[in-house]
Symmetry: C2
Subunit: 182 residues, 2 copies
């Protein structure tokens, strides 16, 4: 293995590869073309009886704020398996997926966020490495002013809105809101 040189920056040169129609980042050292793509975030609104699982973030961005269990999907998993994995990693929670709740777009961040309606299989939860604490919140106790991201607020409201409906169209971003503002 060649030791990376001090000035090596990885893919950092903008150019249009042959046969392509837009600029990609190319590494000036090794020639690797970095086809960067939008990323998928998978998560859940998971209930134990009437209470919703929230996690207080132990990491940036938005450390100290409350979020739904959600995170980047990994290779070779499904969206449902990803949502279950995130509930486990962030809150040591075992969940059962019930329905597709929402598909949100955050184009500024090149993110697609997929949220499921889910049930906790038990109320045995505890903070995983990325959470400072976890809790089960009744609707009236949700810390609205301390939520980490706009899509957390959207998903909570949309979950309330669909209620127990079995057939419903998954929600998308609120009209005109691209998720850029907190």
């Amino acid at each position: 293995m060649t030791k990376p040189s001090a000035r090596a920056a990885g893919p950092s040169l903008r150019a249009v590869p042959e046969g392509d129609d837009r600029e990609r980042l190319i590494c000036p050292d090794c020639g690797f073309i970095h086809y960067d793509n939008p990323k998928i975030v998978v998560g859940s609104v998971a209930l134990w009886q009437d209470r919703i699982l929230l996690c207080r973030r132990a990491i940036n961005p938005r450390v100290g704020f409350w979020t739904l269990p959600a995170g980047y999907m990994e290779l070779n998993e499904t969206t449902i398996d990803g949502a279950k994995r995130e509930a486990w990693e962030e809150a040591r929670a075992r969940i059962e997926i019930d329905a597709l709740l929402a598909v949100y777009n955050i184009p500024r961040l090149s993110q697609v966020q997929i949220f499921y309606r889910a049930r906790l299989l038990s109320d045995a939860i505890s903070a995983g490495p990325e959470s400072r604490e976890v809790g089960l919140f009744a609707w009236e106790d949700i810390p609205w002013d301390d939520l980490a991201f706009p899509s957390v607020r959207w998903a909570l409201r949309h979950h309330r809105e669909v209620g127990a409906a079995r057939e419903f169209a998954p929600r998308a971003n609120p009209p005109g809101d691209d998720g850029s503002r907190l």
Copy 2:
């Protein structure tokens, strides 16, 4: 710019980066960590009156077979904008998105495929650079034996199944089918 050396292979070394919990591909030349993620395919089942837009592929994989207008989502676009762009690129078709039809998972390929129900704004269509020909097909004329991918078949059947319903749960993979078989 340093000329890429003949042996440079880009990120090709498997190792767990510091603070991470799984192997990533790292470039032995420049040290770049390639965080590879699942990719999002966006597409549509787009109708003109009762006929469905299909495109015959001019490129691999599955050159010569018929597909729905669909492709990889690009950075900084939304899933809906991506589906519209693909209809334009592959069939010079202008479409209007109507409803979220399906979210399919192909974990072997680390793909999430998002299909919308859509309407063509006119029947002026023509083959884009990635299509050999394009056509509008009545249900009974769909070339079932010459479809490019399993998810094309799924989306066509699911489109038929939901009909004109306004509120419906988007479809997922047929039970037990991970999309690995053609």
